[in-house]
Symmetry: C2
Subunit: 767 residues, 2 copies
């Protein structure tokens, strides 16, 4: 053993020779880890796999489907809970304000303005203060829409706290108060995040936040406790969230696919689709019941639906007009993203702790002031009121208007957002140009400022609202030239273009809007509009979700390898001289190694030949330590190969699921383990081979990076070993090495150099 | 060079030690080849890649989208062409028959039966004879729906003739006549195949069937002439076909995804979706115009639409009834598949040449007899006639009924299929139980016999029709217990259950039916019905398309690795002792090798160490031969490494696209090349290294087969090299080795044996 004790000492002096950017970026990314989408195939897990009977497999499959069913149901119930409470609180607020306006009429115009105004401000700021308390104090990860986080998680990045129960609680309660508090935020984005957490929680059946759950024996869930299954269930949950939010089961499934699946899997897609269908159906039943339409009525497929459109008035000839609107949405979206990026950068730099809460309350104050004063000026001061007409329901708000009239802008501001969207989409509500324009601009600006505040906040509804208002204005202008067109259709297209311009999602967004519209005829214009908006927007910047992912320095991998990789080979980008471990080690060696390099995997290398034997991850090493899987008989381990293949190194009925469950999702730190080990334990030896992955994916130094990227991205791997021509291990590639910015930083150093020269010069071969 | 002349002599004595089944299966599969989905990364192609300017990349992308646009448009136009002609011919036939019935009334009942009957028979048989001529004589690959072929192609199997122009012509013309000829076949399946061929044809811009096309200079298409791009365009085309057939753009996109994409790609999915949206939209415009609704009206999204449903009558409580119907559909579907499998086996065994045509005409005769005699007996003999009611259009056929009445069964048989489906789905058409039952049973039996006859024949419409009839009967029975329910809803669910039971498709089928229904509310019942039908059907046999794929011995790979692979390692299933080639060879050696082993790839192996250097395919070797890429200067090649990296072995401006275009999709046979080579050419030496793939995917002998499967299936590879622990090449794995039946044949030999023993015993290492 003497000749290879250096393996972990060398680790300490390990360094990489890149310029500064690279190091900075790497340290920013260091808090993220990759998910392991590939099934574990070590000797110990394969043994378990072979023990499975046919009954086990069927039961396993059945549980999987049952879990997917419950994910759909519970996500829908969470959506109903949010919706009912938001509607209740908003309605109460609007009614109380209206009541105060009526009852203070005798006190004269000044008090008729002041009393309701103060009440409105205090009510809104109070609600938002509650929302921001849940986010800033209880769980910061609940801020925002959660879509960037879910996108990253589904992309294969383990983001701390993102699928924790505590996050879900903060999200659900927080979004109630932030939406009811009148902020320009939607509840649809947070719904997707909530669904994702439901997916993770139900499938795992254990939660760090609720230790009580641990006591419930749920042995049948053990096989689901790994990254692969968990990520699949999170996909189901996110899809169920979309389905509940928009009544769009196909859109939900495609959202998960578009954001998630590198490797398309028929069975998983079907299960995702099942979850989202169950979700929209459950929501339909419960919401129809709760809203008083009758429990079997099935008329409320989503939290937000767009109502019936007057499709007779949309013809082929309007298509170019729609495309123009799409381009406008692209520009507006790019402006939105650019402005929000700057604000977010400032936020990250300057706002900490309680200032975050203060900011939220300040924005609530500004929003409430706008919401109150603008309708007041329009209806009370300028007397811009619309007389009631047949077909106008009690949604129309009188506000400061005389009896028998309503204020158009108050109707938009003083109704639940979903009703406001429908008012914009359907032309029976007469809205004045001035009112529309004010509403659109104010909402657009407020939405820019609001997204990123420390409250749960969706982006869909603000975009839909301001986009629809702009679209309706555009439609009105067009109708001056071509009378008889339906301005509601233009509002729909305007909403699509704004969303397309901000989010730059394509497939799923088209289908979500299509299903919320519930008429296939609108497919083509919606699709072309979103395409145009995305094309135009992409000239300026990226989509808002991608920008926020980037701001968080998440090692996100796109579908296609970036262009710069055309010029790179695996040898250029790999982490050189990786920390390796021999097949048999002492406990002391392992713990020292783990202390130095947490959250990693170590290639297992033959100490004599330098050739890789396999790969072992830190959680599994930890599992071996806490389950005391040491070599019993000294004679068994002669320093080279173990004798596991005949079964002597493991207990007779070694339970792999139990073993992996003990270290998933979290495992004790090395220090904690060290405190439980005695002096003699430290001298014990461990045989790593039964627990290592004996056939990690391996490439050669001259393999094009594009191929390495496709391999890692396509199969959802964490690590790829790089070997030289003679088969010795020279490096390791992981997700972070393949991020566009990182790869680009290598380009300057290698581009144009003679390839053969590069490899020979710079790769220090292992002895 | 002397020490490694044995490489190709050893090839001759190569053999594999498996039992008989394996050999038989392999020889059956030998006519199929894999598509290469991975981009070529040899030094020559990478050089071209590096030369691309940004403008090239944008132009390339733009052409890709334009091609996708035209694929959508042309597929839709083909669909309109088929539809218009079928409707025209069928209507003419029905009108002439009705006219004959009226005009022969004076001749007495015998002649009133005989004259129209003979006319009907002759007309139908004549049309079917034309259809079968196109298939049996011109292009046999145009038979059937083409969906098994397209499924296989998209799965990555190169099937001869499947995307040839001649096939498309035979398919389009044949389906006209087979549908108009009254056979129990639909035009929707062939539409999908046609779309796929349109996709292949437009993107390639060359056709073996139309040498004239070669003259048109289409240099911008050269980069698209490879398996990867072609398969992507075929996906677009197939999706466009579905979209045109059912007015289901999302369903089309998901059909392509479900059947095709191993590796999910956002950009490709968006493009597929674009093609199908364009297709359904074009069809909508043109069909609305042609059918006289007005060119901008947009009311005809697909060849077949289901009309508006009476959704007020479908409630939650009917769900269990729907599931029961789903189970019934599963059983009926399994029966359909079992019966059709037997008939197909007999067909393969006994029917050759002209007998195929005879069979088609015989079935046309039987079908026509049923179609004429059944309504005759019901209306003319048993006098089962229904009086006209308001809401009944001129679709209702009088047939042998008295004035003011119509025959329900004739209404089903004597209208275009799409109208018959709508009659079944909507309850304003009164249909008698007897008529429905006869129609359902006869149609079901005829469809079983007809699928597989030598005519283009879709399966969707027969399944929809008989399923809807069964569903309507079921609905009628239910309405005896619960009066007031809508039997049309049950017809829809019945249709879904029959299709689910026969085709066993899941995601795409649900969405296709959902979009054809155009109401999201039906999503849940349709989905659960299809799930139930599939679950029940799977207890008995596989889906019909899979059965036909199996009958053709196509090496089809499912999404999930089969269970038997749990026990296998790469060393067990690999083809041992593969034919290798050294990096520098003489022309004579290459041609001898190619003569012995066509349609293959050869690992390039270092003659000294036995380690793999790369992989080269036969088309590329052929390209080198026909472009005379030989070593010019003897001193350059000293037997080991070439000096290509400095650019001396290739012409200065070597054009990779031009090179690969010269051998794609077809390349000259070795004999043809040999005839052009002189004696001195044969002595020339070739440096293979710039043209080989220098970093083929490689696994070790002990890699679990599941992982090999995921790698090959997930990334769309053709070959994976297998190396031993010391890095020497010991085998090669290709698609055929991973087919379930093949893998199973290895299981007996290896299961239970000591793993280490197996590997050491049986793998003959290369010297």
């Amino acid at each position: 053993m003497e000749e290879n004790t250096g393996f972990w000492q060398r680790a300490i002096v390990r360094n990489r020779h890149h310029h500064e950017d690279h190091g900075q970026l790497m340290s920013k990314m260091s808090k993220y880890d990759s998910l392991e989408y590939q099934d574990t195939f070590c000797a110990a897990s394969v043994a378990q796999r072979h023990r499975r009977s046919k009954k086990d497999v069927i039961l396993f499959d059945f549980s999987r489907w049952m879990l997917s069913f419950f994910i759909g149901v519970i996500t829908a119930l969470a959506a109903v809970f949010i919706d009912v409470n938001v509607v209740w609180m908003s309605t109460m607020k609007f009614n109380l304000t209206s009541g105060l306006i009526r009852s203070t009429e005798e006190l004269g115009p000044f008090f008729q303005f002041l009393v309701p105004f103060i009440f409105f401000i205090v009510f809104n700021c109070g609600l938002v203060a509650t929302a921001t308390y849940f986010v800033a104090r209880i769980e910061p990860c609940a801020a925002g829409s959660g879509i960037p986080e879910i996108k990253s998680y589904l992309n294969g990045v383990r983001i701390p706290m993102v699928v924790r129960l505590r996050t879900a609680m903060s999200k659900v309660v927080g979004v109630l108060f932030s939406v009811a508090g009148g902020l320009c935020v939607g509840k649809e984005g947070p719904m997707i995040h909530t669904g994702a957490i439901v997916g993770a929680g139900i499938s795992q059946g254990k939660s760090i936040d609720m230790p009580l759950v641990h006591r419930i024996p749920m042995a049948f869930l053990k096989p689901f406790r790994n990254d692969h299954e968990k990520r699949d269930f999170v996909s189901c949950g996110a899809a169920a969230g979309v389905a509940a939010a928009f009544g769009s089961p196909t859109g939900g499934a495609l959202f998960s696919l578009e954001e998630a699946s590198s490797f398309f899997n028929q069975g998983l897609t079907w299960r995702i689709f099942f979850s989202s269908m169950i979700s929209t159906f459950t929501l339909n039943i419960v919401l129809s019941g709760v809203r008083g339409y009758g429990w079997g009525n099935l008329s409320q497929p989503g939290l937000i639906t767009f109502g019936m459109f007057n499709k007779a008035t949309y013809t082929l000839y309007q298509l170019p007009l729609f495309l123009l609107l799409g381009a406008f949405g692209g520009v507006m979206g790019a402006g939105f993203n650019a402005a929000n990026t700057r604000i977010s950068r400032l936020r990250i730099k300057y706002l900490k702790g309680n200032y975050k809460m203060l900011e939220a309350i300040l924005i609530a104050f500004i929003t409430a002031t706008c919401q109150f004063c603008l309708p007041f000026i329009m209806s009370g001061v300028l007397n811009q009121c619309v007389p009631h007409r047949p077909g106008v329901t009690d949604q129309a708000k009188q506000f400061y208007c005389p009896e028998g009239h309503y204020s158009d802008i108050a109707t938009l501001f003083y109704n639940p957002q979903e009703d406001a969207i429908r008012s914009l989409f359907h032309s029976q509500y007469q809205l004045s140009m001035g009112g529309l324009f004010l509403f659109a601009v104010v909402y657009y600006c407020l939405a820019i400022v609001t997204y990123g505040v420390a409250v749960p906040s969706g982006l869909f509804v603000p975009c839909l609202l301001s986009g629809a208002a702009f679209g309706r204005i555009y439609g009105r202008l067009i109708s001056l030239v071509f009378p008889g067109i339906d301005t509601g259709n233009f509002a729909l297209i305007g909403a699509a273009s704004m969303l397309g311009g901000v989010a730059r999602m394509t497939i799923s967004l088209t289908i979500i809007l299509l299903e919320a519209t519930n008429d296939i005829q609108y497919g083509m214009p919606i699709m072309l509009t979103i395409m145009t908006a995305k094309l135009v927007g992409d000239l300026f910047n990226k989509g808002l979700y991608d920008i926020h992912i980037h701001l968080k320095a998440v090692p996100f991998l796109e579908f296609e390898p970036p262009h710069c990789m055309d010029y790179l080979e695996a040898g250029d980008i790999m982490s050189r001289d990786p920390i390796t471990i021999p097949p048999v080690v002492t406990v002391e060696q392992v713990t020292s190694l783990m202390k130095l390099y947490g959250h990693q995997a170590f290639p297992v290398v033959d100490p004599v030949t330098g050739k890789p034997l396999g790969l072992i991850t830190v959680p599994i090493l930890t599992g071996m330590l806490i389950n005391s899987i040491f070599i019993k008989d000294e004679s068994e381990a002669d320093g080279s190969r173990s004798t596991f293949s005949t079964g002597s190194a493991l207990p007779q009925h070694f339970d792999w699921y139990h073993f992996s469950d003990s270290v998933y999702p979290r495992f004790p730190s090395v220090d904690k383990i060290l405190s439980t080990l005695t002096e003699s334990d430290l001298e014990q030896r461990m045989d790593i081979q039964p627990f290592m992955d004996p056939s990690p994916h391996t490439v050669r130094t001259q393999t094009p990076v594009i191929r390495v990227f496709t391999l890692l991205r396509g199969l959802g791997l964490r690590h790829i070993l790089v070997v030289s021509d003679d088969g010795t291990l020279v490096g390791i590639v992981s997700r972070k090495d393949l991020v566009e910015e990182v790869a680009e930083s290598f380009l300057g150093a290698t581009k144009g150099r003679d390839r053969a020269q590069t490899v020979a010069d710079t790769i220090p071969l292992l002895p």
